[in-house]
Structures are given as C-alpha cells and as structure tokens.
C-alpha cells in the first residue's frame, strides 16, 4: 500500500456495508442464474466466407478454428444431450463451407462433418454431410482424402448405399495422387467391395491413418479410439 493512501479506518461504516451488500447481491444473483443452455435449433445463418475473413482481421486460421468451436457449441455444449439431428443441417453445411473457405488448409470442418455430423441417425442428414465432404474433397484430393475415405465407409455401412460408396471410392482412387496415401485408400473400391463388417473396416482405416502419420493430434487420436470403442459396443449389442 502506498503512503499516499489513507488508513482503512477512515472509510465510513455505511460505505463498508454498502460495498458488502452490493457484492453479496452480485454473487447471489449470479449463483441463482440457471446455466446457459445449448439450443441445437438456434444455429444462426452462416456468414459468407469473405465476411468471416474480413472479421478475422487478417487471422483467417484463428478465425476458422474459433468459428468451429462456436458451431460445436450448438451441440457438444450440452454434453451431447442434444441430438445432432435437431440441428438445421442446411445452416450447418453453410457454416462448415464458410469455415473451410476461410482456412482451406485446416481439416477441422471436414473432420467434424464426417466424424460427428454425418454419424447422426438420419439418412437425409448423413447424405447432406457426405455430399459436402465429397464436394470439398474434389477441391483438394491429396489433402482431404481421409474425410472421403470415411465418407465411403459411412455410405456403405450406415446408409447401405453401395453405389454411393463406390462412387466415392472410385473418386478417391482416381484423384488422390499423393504417394504417401496408404494402400487401402488407393485401392478404396476393392476395400469397399470386400466382405468385411464396419468394425473391421474402421479398424483397418484407423491403423492405416496412424501408420501413415496423418493422425498426429492426440485429441483426434483419443476421439477416434473412443468412436471405435463405441462402434465395437454397438455391434456387440446388435449380435
């Protein structure tokens, strides 16, 4: 405390009481407020990518990731209590498109599209996400192939739409030219046609992704292993 300040004893008693009362009222009011609830249907219309870039003040990479966290909050915010299918998928797709256009080198939007939003128990919504992933893949095949590979598996096992899965697999095989891509992905059509169940295919995919060094993020690795565990449990209960 500096020597320029007067002792605390000089503060009048009523001022102490006022300070204490207002502080207690503030704490009480905040403690009584219900926690904010996530509303899946309230996802606002997506901004244009150009607007998102303008608002990013020259930091598109940070803005794209922040926007992803914002979109995530409309579902994950409630601890998965809200089913994704209550989300407006038209708006969701527009958001993911804008985010992808803001930072085309980030794989976050595609990861969320194919691993979270496409796995909803609603074929129309799954299809919308898979089409979004396919459209995005065509723009940068060598960077975005992992998303389309998973999309092909979802088309086969969840939608049971073999022609769609083969179309994705054929594109994957034809357009992905990077030699670092694992063999199973470069021969995706055979992989799709093979008589294996979803769990076996998912295990091979995850192993391939880990071996090829495409899975470096520990959070992503944890997330995918959890998904694999959930798939294992689901298939075991169906047997």
């Amino acid at each position: 405390m500096s020597g320029r300040e007067r002792p605390l004893a000089t503060v009048p008693g009523w001022l102490w009481a006022l300070l204490g009362a207002t502080l207690a009222a503030q704490l009480g009011a905040q403690a009584l407020r219900p926690p904010p609830a996530a509303a899946a249907s309230d996802l606002p219309p997506a901004p244009r990518a150009a607007a998102l870039r303008a608002a990013s003040l020259g930091e598109p990479a940070a803005a794209a990731r922040l926007a992803m966290l914002y979109v995530q909050a409309f579902d994950l915010g409630a601890g998965n209590a809200l089913p994704y299918r209550r989300l407006d998928y038209g708006r969701l797709r527009a958001w993911l498109r804008a985010i992808l256009d803001t930072d085309p080198r980030s794989s976050y939007a595609l990861f969320a599209a194919v691993r979270v939003y496409a796995e909803v128990d609603d074929p129309a919504r799954t299809r919308a996400m898979l089409e979004f992933v396919h459209e995005a893949y065509l723009e940068a095949p060598n960077r975005r192939w992992p998303a389309l590979a998973h999309a092909a598996l979802l088309a086969k096992h969840r939608l049971r739409d073999l022609p769609l899965a083969r179309r994705y697999a054929a594109d994957l095989q034809r357009l992905t030219t990077d030699p670092d891509v694992p063999l199973w992905a470069r021969q995706m059509e055979i992989f799709i046609l093979e008589d294996m169940n979803e769990l076996e295919a998912a295990k091979i995919m995850l192993g391939g992704l880990l071996a090829s060094g495409h899975l470096r993020d520990p959070g992503e690795r944890r997330f995918l292993k959890e998904r694999l565990g959930a798939l294992e449990r689901r298939l075991a209960s169906e047997r």
Partner: protein, 254 residues
C-alpha cells in the same frame, strides 16, 4: 553516447519503470492460458488451434499495449513540459523524434522476441523466427503510427483511436476489397464508386494482412520473396509515418 541513443535509452528505462514488462508477462499468460483452455474443447487440430489463437492474441495484444504506452508517454512528456526542456538542450527536433522512435522500436523488438518464444512450442524454429521478425517490423510500424498521432493530435484518446483505426483497417483492407468485388456486388454506378473508394483507401494503407501470418506457424514458412515483400512494405510504411511525423513536428510552435 550520441543524443539519439541517449534518448532511446531513457525511453527504454521509462518503459521498464512504468510496468510494461509486467503487462507483457500478463499478456503472455492470458494468451497462452486461453489458447490452452480452448484447445481442450477442440475435437482435432488442438496444436494448430493453440498456435493460431496464441499468435493472434499476442499479435493484437502487443500492438495495443505498445500503442497505448507510446501515446501515453509522448502526451505526458508534452503536458509535463519535458519536451520543452529537452528541446532547450543542444538537441535538434529530428534527433529528439528519432531518439524516441528508436527507443520505442527497441521495446517493440523485445515484445516480438517475447511473443515469438512460446511459438516454439508449436512451430518449427525457422517459422517462429520469421513470424517474430515480421512481428518486430509490424510493431515498429505501430510505434511510428502512435508517435505520429500522439505528436500531431496531442491527446491520449484521439491518438489511440487513430492508431487503432489505422491498424485495424490495414489488417482488414484486403478482405474489404474482396467483399467489394465479390459476386454479390451489383454492377451499379454506386457500387463502382464504393469499390473505387475502397481501392483508394487501400493505396494509403500498409498491407498488414500479408505480414505476421499465423499460417506461417501452422503450415509452412513463407517463400523468401513473399517474406521480404511483406517486411519491406512494413518498413517502408514506418519510414513514411516517421517522415510525416517529423514534418509535423518541425512545423509545430511549442
């Protein structure tokens, strides 16, 4: 010691005594803490998220702290008549102005080094070094702009507002130009005028969006040509602001 360096040294001393290093530490802690917190809720790209957010926050925070410090310091010196006292000594106006700018630029260099160090957690040393060098040049520009506006406007709030306006506009002008040319822009004469006005404003601004890019930390360092062009543009604009500030300072009646 030459008068310019003597003044620069006193400017550095003032920054140390005014608690600026503590503010810089607080900024580092806040940026790293927020980035670490948000990366916990990310499903993927946790490392990239931390790097991008920390870089963006540190860049903006360093520019703001430096602008506020330069402005407050220059205006306080003018109000306390320290400026008159300094100019009564055998010291030219140019030497005074340049001495101040060198001192503030050195503070900016320290800020850039402090902000670049944590980037080594997520990026290759070469990328982090280029990012820091670019931030140092950007902060030199911010110092030049703050000094110019503080000397010209002689008031804290208008000078900080003008510096912030210039900085934010320079960072977003490329995106604004894209918006003006976007497919939704109608081909009317009002639209043409608006586009022309945006292009004219862009001519007067530095391209801050091309400098200190977090993509350099996340994906790959810039090509040498791109980096030199970005840095050169910043240094050139800082020189322009310095010349404009000196011009105004020489004309002023004290």
């Amino acid at each position: 010691m030459p008068p310019v360096l003597l003044l620069a040294r006193s400017t550095l001393l003032e920054a140390r005594r005014s608690g600026l290093p503590w503010l810089a530490l607080g900024l580092l802690a806040a940026a790293l803490g927020l980035a670490a917190f948000l990366s916990q809720v990310a499903m993927t790209e946790g490392r990239e998220l931390q790097a991008a957010l920390a870089a963006a926050l540190l860049r903006a925070g360093a520019a703001f702290l430096l602008a506020a410090h330069v402005t407050a310091s220059v205006v306080r010196e003018a109000n306390d008549k320290v400026l008159e006292l300094a100019l009564a000594l055998p010291l030219s106006r140019s030497q005074y102005y340049l001495g101040k700018l060198v001192g503030y630029g050195a503070i900016g260099l320290g800020f850039a080094a402090a902000c670049g160090l944590p980037m080594l957690l997520w990026a290759a040393p070469g990328s982090a070094a280029l990012w820091s060098a670019s931030l140092a040049a950007e902060l030199l520009l911010v110092c030049a702009a703050s000094l110019f506006f503080a000397v010209t406007l002689a008031n804290v709030v208008p000078a900080i507002a003008a510096t912030a306006g210039l900085y934010l506009l320079a960072r977003s002008i490329a995106a604004i130009q894209l918006l003006a040319r976007g497919p939704l822009a109608e081909p009317t004469w009002t639209q043409s005028i608006a586009r022309g006005a945006v292009d004219a404003v862009a001519l007067l601004l530095p391209r801050l969006d091309a400098a200190t890019r977090s993509e350099w930390l996340l994906y790959a360092p810039p090509a040498p040509g791109e980096f030199v062009a970005a840095l050169g543009a910043l240094v050139l604009y800082a020189a322009l602001l310095c010349a404009a500030g000196l011009f105004d300072f020489h004309r002023r009646n004290l």
